[in-house]
Amino acid sequence: MSAVPFLSSLFFLAVLTASVKPLGRYMARVYQGERTLLSPVLGPLERIVYRVAGVDASASMHWTRYAFAMLWLNVLGALAVYGLQRAQSILPANPQSMGAVSADSAFNTAVSFATNTNWQGYAGEATMSYLTQMLGLAVQNFVSAACGMAVLIALIRGFSSRNSDSIGNFWVDCTRSILYVLLPLSLLLAGALVTQGVVQSFSPYATVALVQPVDHEKAAEDAEGKPRLDAEGKPVMEAARTTEQKVPLGPAASQVAIKQLGTNGGGFFNVNSAHPFENPTPLSNFLQVLAILLIPAAFCYTFGAMVGDTRQGWAIYAAMTFVFVALLGVATWAEQTGNPQLAARGVDDRASALQSGGNMEGKEVRFGIAASALWATTTTAASNGSVNSMHDSYTPLGGAVPMWLMQLGEVIYGGVGSGLYGMLVFAIIGVFIAGLMIGRTPEYLGKKLEAFEIKMAAIVILVPPLFVLAGTALAVMSEAGRAGIANPGAHGFSEILYALSSAGNNNGSAFAGLSANTPFYNTLLGVAMWCSRYWLAIPVLAIAGSLAAKKTVPSGPGTLPTHTPLFVALLIGTVLVVGALTFVPALALGPIVEHLLLYPAR
């Protein structure tokens, strides 16, 4: 095995870590309303936004008002996306003449994009018009990300302010997230992606002549263009020859950039960032995978800077990175080891200078094992959900890593904003557990944690497992749920567990063999996505409001310092123990059984 996977991952972590402080400090300045490099350009635009919408930027909101502002923006956003999909056939910018999306699919996609999940029940290049992609999906990529960022900033203000009945202005936090953070970074990234070959065009799909025409079978059609069925109701196949290839186009680069930076993950095309037009080169791949973690990682520093002690932020970053590196190691090792049952058939899957080897089913040659495993780990550590390889075809342990990372609650870096607010809730629980051990009232960053905060934190930790486990149980018990399974046996169970883990933690990636574009899954997953976004964000805002109203207590001899290795270990322990206790029984029925079947005892 070569050193390349190790070195390229190290390079990735080095670049990520180096960007934490500059970007984190910049964002702290933005949210505190200080002048930045971009203020001369964006300041006037920001003021125009407030004037048009009638926002008083100096008014600070009570947490309930803050929550309603966020909810209304998301409800209207979801309605807009739903409407665009249903009406796209009569709207402009639809050169491929896409028809209206079905009601259940449109509902699922609308919720999916408003909640920053970006689960894709549809195939982009065969479903969505350019207008829907641009005005609906891309806008929600920005807005849903900005909402997560705003909630995080509100929570940080809860820690940093004293005796205050308000936690900031939602519209200001949201606008600044978009104008000062997401938009400039997206412009840079989109520009870089275009140079690599990511398409950006409003032309209809191009057609090219195949060098060698291909003979294949296709479903026979009757005179009305409907598929012909035989006596058993199966479609009749007939021989066909195809001499041309469609070359799909569209405004992809602009959308791919924000889908990564906003940890959205909804692809322009069906196979997402595995598509050569979304992710054509190793460099475009590196930029995108970096963009996924860039903002979530930098927020650790922003948090430290805003609470007045950057060590607090670095401690959280250290805990996240520790878990990330460990699981990245498992995923890379498992995928590089490959499929022993194929090797036994005379397939050469050993790594060499001439091939990456390993488990190449569902992976692209330009990415190989190292860049695919890095992406799978990154996209599920963050709540991104874009993919550059098909997780459904991973080895059992390789596929268990992304699944478990989602089940941990998307707090290993996590989504923009949502990752860190989730992690801070785990920190609250960790401090609470430590407080119980020594018999002291727990405090974090000078704020006493009392019954209300712990109750809210418990809700945040319990809601996603509820939807993941209960949803999985419901799906495997119902005919409609089992009908979607593509792979037989334990892997089929994994497909369902993965889908619910993804929706219930707002990730959006999939074991894509599962046929989830059905009324059953569109509804079940839609409800899971909606609840596990707002039933978390609202309690977090409640914690923010409650903390902001408290006074700050000076640290005493009974205070647990929260910037030390001891605290880092405590935090990691809390995340892993909660994640393991909740999900190991379910994982045992899926990936663990499958692993034992792949390596049968002799």
Binding site: R65, Q212, K218, K246, P276, L354, G362, E364, G368, S389
Partner: protein, 194 residues
């Protein structure tokens, strides 16, 4: 509770104008002006006709061409309008059946001397997109003998062509070495034309 509804409506409108109209248009103008070829699908032109995209693979089955990776798109392989992976798990009977078929086809087409060689894994497994334009250098090397024999060319000449079309890792670090199958096959046809 409804106090923020009107603001939310206006805000969504403004955000839509900025991020849904101005932003993609700005990127499109930049892309179309500065990187016209890349922004429009990186098409390969021959005699004024587009014969493919450098970034999208095409299916090949003639013994005289290098074969691309298996593709799981339907109804035909390498369907540019419907990207898809196979989504078959490692124990899937369908996967094992498909791999057997691909191994048999490759071995049948190659010379008896090569039939016993283990086949590079990327040549018998479906790609993630179904449109993978590349094969590994190992997969190209595996096919050199067959292509050379079919085209009645010295194997060294074909090997040199493969080497010419092999891209290394970026900075020796990122991604994997790879061979663009469509470009390689077009170059093969170019040899015969001379």
């Amino acid at each position: 509770m409804f106090k923020e509804l009107k603001t939310a409506f206006l805000m969504l409108l403004v955000f839509t104008l900025i991020t849904g109209v101005a932003y993609p248009l700005l990127v499109t103008v930049f892309a179309q002006v500065a990187f016209n070829d890349a922004a429009n699908g990186s098409l390969i032109m021959r005699d004024g006709k587009a014969v493919g995209s450098r970034l999208l693979g095409q299916p090949f089955s003639d013994a005289g061409y290098f074969w691309s990776r298996p593709s799981a798109t339907g109804p035909m392989p390498y369907n540019g309008a419907a990207s898809s992976g196979s989504n078959q798990g490692p124990l899937s009977p369908a996967l094992h059946e498909a791999v057997e078929g691909r191994l048999a086809a490759l071995r049948e087409a190659s010379s008896p001397a090569d039939a016993a060689t283990a086949v590079p894994v990327d040549l018998v497994t479906a790609s993630s997109s179904g449109l993978d334009p590349h094969i590994s250098p190992a997969a190209a090397r595996y096919q050199i003998e067959r292509v050379a024999t079919t085209r009645k060319r010295p194997a060294e000449q074909i090997a040199a062509l493969v080497a010419q079309h092999t891209e290394p890792r970026w900075l020796g670090l990122l991604g994997e070495p790879r061979v663009n199958v469509l470009e390689l096959n077009l170059a093969l046809d170019g040899l015969s034309a001379k």
